[in-house]
Point group: C2
Chain length 95, copies 2
């Protein structure tokens, strides 16, 4: 897995906001963009970074391109982050 790509993708606040926005379900690029004061081109750039990290999936639906979270990666991401610290997150110490 491209650990660097994931961390880099999460480093930008706009991209994190995009991920949050997708929590409600899949959205077209344009629908996502409505929440941000940013050009479609810049937005597209962020999508590319998120895709490269495999954090989102895309599907063309007619005229639109629909983005959705790749939640199957979630556990891996959690592991990647927690791996940076000596013990697990739960009180019991997950190991």
């Amino acid at each position: 897995m491209k650990q660097q790509a994931v961390f880099r993708a999460l480093a930008d606040p706009t991209r994190r906001a995009i991920l949050k926005r997708l929590q409600g379900g899949a959205l077209s690029a344009g629908d996502i963009g409505e929440a941000f004061e940013i050009t479609p081109a810049s937005l597209s750039h962020h999508f590319a970074v998120l895709k490269q990290a495999d954090l989102v999936r895309t599907e063309r639906r007619g005229q639109y391109i629909v983005y959705s979270l790749n939640s199957t990666l979630m556990e891996d991401i959690a592991r990647m982050v927690l791996d940076l610290f000596p013990i697990g997150p739960s009180k019991g110490g997950k190991r």
Copy 2:
């Protein structure tokens, strides 16, 4: 909490390696630096970024400055990351 500072700090591979290195316990700046082909000045810059994110603590011990992980933040960090995804990491789902 400075979410942006944390994500930014984790985005650099050298800084992640520093965190890993500290898992074994506190180390002086110089001891940490031995693992990297980087000048002390650059290393110090990375420490500053990690400190700003509150990921590490420092303590002067005589001539040395000793760094250690701030593991109390771990849960917060895990939450910050998992917050970007719709459901929790454990098989049981949301926590």
